[in-house]
Structure formats: structure tokens, C-alpha cells
């Protein structure tokens, strides 16, 4: 008897093929569209051919820009990553402290938690004009935008996760003689770090969004800056490789954080495997 479709699973090779298929179709659709447009207008900039994409990549990624003397893609990547990593690190550190005290200490929670909840509702982009005036137009305001954009979410997530912790564990620690500080240090923190990193992984998308937005508005280098600059003359041959590159970077970040979690917090993986 033929099995139901919900019970049929693709093999390894099939999975690989099915996973690649949408990308192949996308590339094929693009190639077709590009060829059709270029036939009508050889100078068309909207869907550049793979050859001109290749040329643009060679120009921005492998040769120095005659005007500035740097390799554009690497200069942009370095600038953007510096902002992104700085924003992520500050947001994470801040959230760790505030999230933990909010989660563990009822008195702090009563004072701080409503404030964090309300701040997290402010659309960060709406604050941009204010950020510019307070923090200037340079690196600081871009980093601050990322921090403001993701830290409230991280804080609230962490607080919620701490409150979700089985109460039995905190009672048990007390019956073993642990103080509040020791409980934070040895029971709460080690269990919350991997969850925080998971939350940071979820925040990567918004963090990139805020970075690109900030760079689009005021910058002289960066991945978002370049995209919004060359958009001025519809240079899709530069924009498309940049988009692919940003996607790739985001993917690498995500995988790296996941690996980091599994490596530093083996008990999480052990739990997942046995579950």
C-alpha cells in the first residue's frame, strides 16, 4: 500500500535537490528576464546580465576604487560589521544586566519592567531625528539605533525566560544555602546565557534593518550607504551582489551563534537530543 504523503520523507540527495531547486528556479527566471530586457535595451540597468554582475563584483570586491583608494566592498563590510557588532555587543550586555535583575529581583522588576515594556513599543526609526541631534550623525547614532532597536526586546525576552524558570530550582538552591547573588551567578545566568544568545539570533534581522536604515540616512561608508548611493543611478549590478553579500553575512552570523551556543552550553544540546 502506498504510504500517505505525510509519512514520506525525502532522502539525503533528494533533500539537497529540493533545497536547491527554488534557488535554481530563481536564477533561471532571473536569467530569462535579464536576457529579455537586454535584448530590447542593451544598456538596461534593471536586470543586469551575469557578465555585468561579475564585472561589478570584480570592481567593488577585488580592485581598489580609483577615487578613494580602497576596495569598496571590504571597506563597506568592515564599517558595517563594526557598527553591527558594537551595537549587538552593547545591546546584549545591557540586556543581560537589566533582564536578569528584572527577572530575579521583584523590587527592581516593579520599578523597571513597565518602563522597558513601554520603551520597547517605541518604533526606533521614529526616534532617528532625535538620535541625530542627541548623538550626532557619526558612528554613535548608528550604534545607538541598533541598541535601542533590539535591547528592549532582549530585556523583555530574558525577563520572561527567567520568570518561566521552574520555581523549584530557585527553592532548591536556597535549601542548599545559596544567597541571591550566588543564585544569580550559578543558577540563573548560566541557564539564561544560551537563551539570550538565541534571542540575539532572532534580533539579527532587525539589527541589520536598523543598520542599513541608519547608513541609508547619513554615512560615508558602509553596506547600506553603498546600496542607497548607487540606487541614485540605478546600479542594480552593484545592489544585487551587495544584497546577496549581506544575506550571506547574516547567515554566517546566525550559524556562528548557533555553533557557539552548542559548543559553550553542551547541556542544551544534550537536552534537545534526549527530548
Amino acid at each position: 500500500m502506498a504510504r500517505r504523503w505525510i509519512n514520506r520523507h525525502p532522502g539525503r540527495a533528494e533533500r539537497l535537490f529540493l533545497g536547491l531547486l527554488p534557488f535554481l528556479i530563481l536564477i533561471l527566471v532571473y536569467a530569462t528576464g535579464s536576457a529579455m530586457r537586454l535584448e530590447v535595451n542593451p544598456n538596461d540597468k534593471l536586470l543586469p546580465s551575469f557578465a555585468s554582475l561579475g564585472n561589478a563584483i570584480a570592481r567593488v570586491a577585488f580592485s581598489t576604487d580609483p577615487r578613494t583608494g580602497v576596495v569598496l566592498l571590504w571597506a563597506d563590510t568592515a564599517a558595517s560589521l563594526e557598527r553591527l557588532v558594537l551595537g549587538l555587543v552593547i545591546a546584549t550586555a545591557l540586556s543581560l544586566v537589566i533582564g536578569v535583575v528584572n527577572g530575579v529581583l521583584p523590587y527592581v522588576r516593579a520599578g523597571l519592567s513597565p518602563m522597558v515594556a513601554i520603551v520597547s513599543m517605541i518604533p526606533p526609526m521614529a526616534l532617528l531625528p532625535v538620535l541625530f541631534i542627541v548623538f550626532g550623525l557619526d558612528e554613535l547614532s548608528k550604534v545607538v539605533l541598533i541598541v535601542i532597536g533590539i535591547a528592549p526586546f532582549l530585556m523583555r525576552d530574558l525577563e520572561a525566560r527567567i520568570l518561566e524558570m521552574p520555581g523549584e530550582q530557585l527553592i532548591k538552591a536556597q535549601t542548599l544555602g545559596a544567597s541571591s547573588w550566588q543564585i544569580v551567578l550559578r543558577v540563573v545566568l548560566p541557564q539564561m546565557l544560551p537563551r539570550l544568545i538565541d534571542a540575539v539570533r532572532l534580533s539579527l534581522g532587525p539589527a541589520w534593518l536598523f543598520l542599513i536604515s541608519a547608513e541609508a540616512i547619513a554615512a560615508d561608508v558602509g553596506l547600506g550607504y553603498r546600496i542607497f548611493l548607487v540606487r541614485r543611478y540605478l546600479a542594480m549590478d552593484v545592489i544585487l551582489p551587495y544584497v546577496v553579500w549581506i544575506t550571506l553575512l547574516a547567515l554566517i552570523f546566525d550559524i556562528a551563534l548557533k555553533r557557539f551556543n552548542a559548543w559553550v552550553f553542551p547541556w542544551m544540546e544534550a537536552g534537545r537530543r534526549s527530548a
Partner: protein, 356 residues
């Protein structure tokens, strides 16, 4: 692949990416779409549309013209270049660097105005343009502001490498100017006026020093125009009728300007102030004469030099000559075999002769 190629083409077409560029559909058509964005010199168009002036002229030639507002200026040009619109309101530099450099043959039907102080370089706590040396300048890079800055620097023997530029969105440039670490800004109206209100800001260079070089145009796809000259006639008719109306010093003219002011989000004094720094070609004779003049050739040469130096004519552009620019009377700048931007005085002249 198991897919029949036809299916694939159909699927590709459906993605919308492939909406064929206008020329394919050019032939005989009666419905036209023009993209516009809010700018002092372009406000007569939405006014003309709302008051039936556009419809009146379109009806006269048996066509229909729809003006559609786009919030973002660059996006409106990109949409036109992608073939989603038959025409767009654009500056001369952007007409050259976006559609023309992108291979979309574009005709200038109307030279609406030129910036006569609408663009300016503003310094904080400094009195002359020479003080800009070594400063960080906030502006919309690769825009007419950038061009103005380059011309200003050139006028006092400085180079662009003597300053550093920071790309700043026009939507945020007023807030940026208020930021303490920003000391030099290039902007256009109405933001420019807002920035100048601050007492420590001094305008040290503006577009009155380069009259005619920054133009605001109504452009149309050349193929479309060739197949449908009625479009050019209807546009010219509606345009000059509206300009004549708003130039009047009586109640009707004031009412028209008041409404344009409202449409652009300001009030009559604010709008009048912007018009004062915008040289509108109210008389079609002047417009046609300017389009035929040697000046416009000179100005476009300056603009294309700037564009080429900033890589705006496309990768692989060997010289500023790659994109040909044609003027009335057969004058051509650059590659005559690759003319993609054409200044056309036909419709201005028809208006001047009262033959519309």
C-alpha cells in the same frame, strides 16, 4: 529541465520584474502615465490635473494623461526607467545619469525652470565658501547638491578631495544640520530655507552663481513621444496655460498659487519664497529659446563631466562621451550613435507660436 521553456517564460513574466520596457508597447496608445514628486517647480502639474487643465488638453488630442505622485524622488525616476511610466519630472543631471545612462532613450519635452537659489551650500559659524576646506559636508551624494558643491569648490580653486562628503537623506538633512557635529550642509528648498533659519548658519554659495545649470524638466520616453506626438502637445498646452494662470497677480493667480502651496505642504508666503529662487519659464518663447541656446550645451557638458567623474554614466564608461546628448538643430554632445537624451524644443515652440 523538465519545464517547457514557454511555461518558464510565462512564470518569469508574472514575476513583474519583466514588465516590458515601454518601447515594446509604444506603437499607438492613448493612455499615458507621468510620475511626479513634490517640488516647488513641479507643483503646477498636480494643480493642472486637479483643475481639469490636463484633462482639457488631453481630451483635445484624444488621449488621457494621468499624473501619479511618488513619495520618493529617486524612486519615481527608477520607476520611469523601469518602464512603469511614460514620463517623469526630473532634473537635467538625473535625467542623464539614470534613464539615459540606463539606455532608456529620453526626450525633454519641457524645460520647466532652473534653480536660481533653490540649492545652496550652508556653513555653520563660517562666513565664506573658502572656510569649507577640510570640513565634512553633509548632502545627498550624487545629487544636484553634490553638483552644486563641486561647482562651488571649482569656483574658488578647491577640489572635491579638499572636503569629505557624508551622504545624508534629504528627509533628515534638517535634523542633521541641527546636530552639533555637522558644520557644512548642501541642501535644496524647502529644507534649505529651514536650515538657513538658524542664526549660526550662513549660506556661502548657491545656485544663483550657476544659473541655468540645474534644470527641472518634464521628460518622456523618446519612442513613446515619436509614436504619439500628441502627448507632447497636450503636456505643453497644459503646462503653459497653468503657468500663465499662476503668474497672474490677481485673485485667481493667487488662489492657484495658494493651492499649489497647500499641495506641497507649505503656505502661500512659503511657496512664494520658493518660487522666488526658482526661475520658471512662464513664456514659451523663453523656454524654446533657452532649449536652443548654446548655453544649454555648455551646461550639459559641465553636468556630464561631473557625472562621468563620479562614475554615474555607468561602469565601463570610457569617457564622458559614451552617452550622447542631442540638442535642437542637430547639435550633439558625445557619441552621436548612442544618443539617449534629447532636448526637444518642438512643443515649446508650438506653444510659443500659439499652434497647440
Amino acid at each position: 529541465m523538465a519545464f517547457p521553456l514557454k511555461t518558464l517564460f510565462a512564470a518569469a513574466a508574472m514575476t513583474g520584474l519583466l514588465a516590458s520596457p515601454a518601447p515594446l508597447l509604444a506603437a499607438e496608445k492613448t493612455d499615458f502615465k507621468i510620475a511626479w514628486t513634490i517640488y516647488a517647480g513641479w507643483m503646477p502639474w498636480p494643480y493642472a490635473q486637479e483643475h481639469g487643465i490636463v484633462k482639457k488638453w488631453a481630451d483635445k488630442y484624444g488621449i488621457s494623461i494621468e499624473f501619479q505622485q511618488i513619495n520618493d524622488y529617486v524612486e519615481s525616476i527608477n520607476q520611469y526607467t523601469a518602464g512603469k511610466f511614460d514620463g517623469v519630472l526630473v532634473t537635467n543631471m538625473d535625467a542623464l545619469t539614470i534613464p539615459a545612462a540606463g539606455g532608456v532613450d529620453t526626450s525633454v519635452v519641457l524645460v520647466g525652470d532652473y534653480s536660481n537659489g533653490n540649492d545652496g551650500v550652508v556653513l555653520k559659524g563660517a562666513k565664506s565658501l573658502a572656510d569649507i576646506k577640510g570640513q565634512k559636508v553633509n548632502l545627498v551624494e550624487l545629487s544636484v547638491s553634490h553638483y552644486l558643491l563641486a561647482r562651488g569648490l571649482d569656483s574658488i580653486g578647491l577640489k572635491e578631495s579638499d572636503v569629505s562628503t557624508v551622504n545624508t537623506s534629504d528627509a533628515d538633512i534638517v535634523a542633521a544640520a541641527a546636530s552639533p557635529d555637522v558644520t557644512a550642509v548642501v541642501a535644496w528648498n524647502p529644507q534649505l530655507a529651514e536650515i538657513k533659519k538658524s542664526p549660526d548658519m550662513t549660506e556661502v554659495f548657491d545656485s544663483t552663481k550657476i544659473p541655468g545649470e540645474i534644470m527641472d524638466l518634464a521628460v518622456v520616453n523618446t519612442e513613446t513621444l515619436k509614436d504619439n506626438p500628441k502627448l507632447g502637445k497636450a503636456l505643453a498646452g497644459a503646462w503653459f496655460e497653468t503657468l500663465a494662470l499662476m503668474a497672474r497677480d490677481d485673485a485667481e493667480g493667487k488662489a492657484a498659487r495658494e493651492e499649489m502651496a497647500k499641495l506641497s505642504g507649505t503656505d502661500l508666503p512659503g511657496y512664494d519664497a520658493q518660487l522666488k529662487t526658482t526661475y520658471l519659464y512662464t513664456d514659451p518663447k523663453d523656454a524654446a529659446a533657452f532649449t536652443r541656446s548654446d548655453d544649454i550645451v555648455k551646461y550639459m557638458d559641465l553636468v556630464r563631466s561631473f557625472s562621468f567623474e563620479h562614475n554615474l554614466l555607468g561602469e565601463g564608461a570610457a569617457s564622458k562621451d559614451v552617452v550622447g546628448i542631442a540638442f535642437p538643430g542637430g547639435k550633439v554632445l558625445g557619441d552621436a550613435a548612442n544618443v539617449k537624451l534629447r532636448f526637444d524644443d518642438t512643443y515649446e515652440q508650438l506653444a510659443a507660436d500659439g499652434k497647440l
